[in-house]
Amino acid sequence: MGNVRFLPCGDQAVTVEWGSTIDEHINRQVHAFARKVEELSHPAITEVVPTYRSATVHYRPEVLSYEELKQLLLSLTQGGPEETEELPVVEIPVCYGGEYGPDLEEVAQHCSLTPEEVIARHTAPTYRIYMLGFTPGFPYLGGMDPSIAAPRRKEPRIHIPAGSVGIAGEQTGVYPIVSPGGWQLIGRTPLRLFDPQREQPILLSAGAGIRFVPIDEETFRKMEEKEGKRA
């Protein structure tokens, strides 16, 4: 699985690093490694946090010394092939434009496209979830069509509603909880990406894929009502 670096992150965590770029090949290695670590269910390992190009392994030094841990983790980086199977793809219904996507027109103007073309290009690809972070359940996605890239808003919003779908530079993402932020909002999903009371609090997993599916306002309201009741 290539050369890895072991970077101590204090005395109870170590970051295992494959590279320093956003790269699908590297990210697949990271998630394959994270899954192997989890499958071990080792009493010394409390959790593993995969990111773009590295995985941070949190451990209990009273069970395993740093050197022993390093050897164990190194053995997991060797031999095994990278993640090869097809990713599960989650469909995210999105109501684009209007009150749900107040910046859609602006993004379209910036890109010299019609709002319909922006929607078509935003819903075309299957995006890879490189990692979750920033807030509970926030997906860092890769694979957006660069022709719909748009700069962040000059004045960030203080209150972005949960479920908002936005664009910032060449990135796109969904806000799982109400947050401040400077992304251009083009739509909103009625799905709850994060619900602490739910048995599965987080809807998305890093390493999986997502696709955006356009829905109309009526469908949005019906789905939102259904989601609300489940919470």
């Binding site: 101590p8 690093e17 949190h58 987080i202």
Partner: protein
Amino acid sequence: MITVLQPGLLTTLQDEGRLGYQKYGVPVAGAMDSLALHTANLLAGNDMGEACLEITGLGPTLRFETPVAFALSGGEFSPTLDGVPLEMNRAYSAPKGSVLQVGACKGGFRCYLAVNGGFDVPLVMNSRSTYLKGAFGGFQGRAIQKGDTLPLREPQFWLNAMDKRSASYPLPEGVPVIHVIMGPQDDCFSSRGKRTFLQKEYTLGQSCDRMGYRLEGPAIERSEGFDGNILSDGVAMGSVQVPDGTPLIMMADRQTTGGYGKIATVASFDLPVLAQCRPGDRITFAAITTEEAHQEMAKRRRALSALRDALEMPPGLW
């Protein structure tokens, strides 16, 4: 049950934190000072990791509606029970209707109130810790307020060797030395920058809270060509980021990942020291190895085990 007569400055339920959900972006939260949490719980006859009220700066006033044994550990507050002064780091029995006034902080910054049996709030993602920004966990996802009633789980009023249930909790004195393990991105800073970090004094700024501590002091020089940003990766409690030249230390409510280079990470045995510092306090840093940090943590665990064994000893053997 406990009725909140006055909530104090910032009083939240915290245990050892929400482990296992960082890969979903869910912050760990949990006690800022795990040593004080563990000590309070042992004195009150609980498992070390039970949820306690974390009390910051100015303590709450609480009425015990149920008779219960309790203990306060950590920073030096000025507690009274029905007007009678109490010692910190000692277990007491509170009769039904008695009023505990935790009072003002005289040394350190945070203390923990453990009640025997623990607080009866639901586990959210396997933890009773309050995550304030996400508004979930603990008591209704927020700090306690006047008029709240906090439910308890089957508390005992009298514990083994009640009059001997005390412990020592050393508070930092002078300008504490905070031990760190260099990295994971210390190569992003110049040799001169690293010397500045390890030799100069830093002051805790006004924005020091459960999320992080912003420090004021001399700027840390970066390596040539490094602008301070990295591709976001994992962080730990005590990670020292350098967003704009000066250190920002990630504390209990930190985000799970971050995009600033991290020069060092505070050794876990010194996180309680940091948790007892307040805005305006000065600190210095010193580098140690991972192995040295592990040895210090082992000493800490042995001391807590010895305390637990002593408290469980039948009274005749004291």
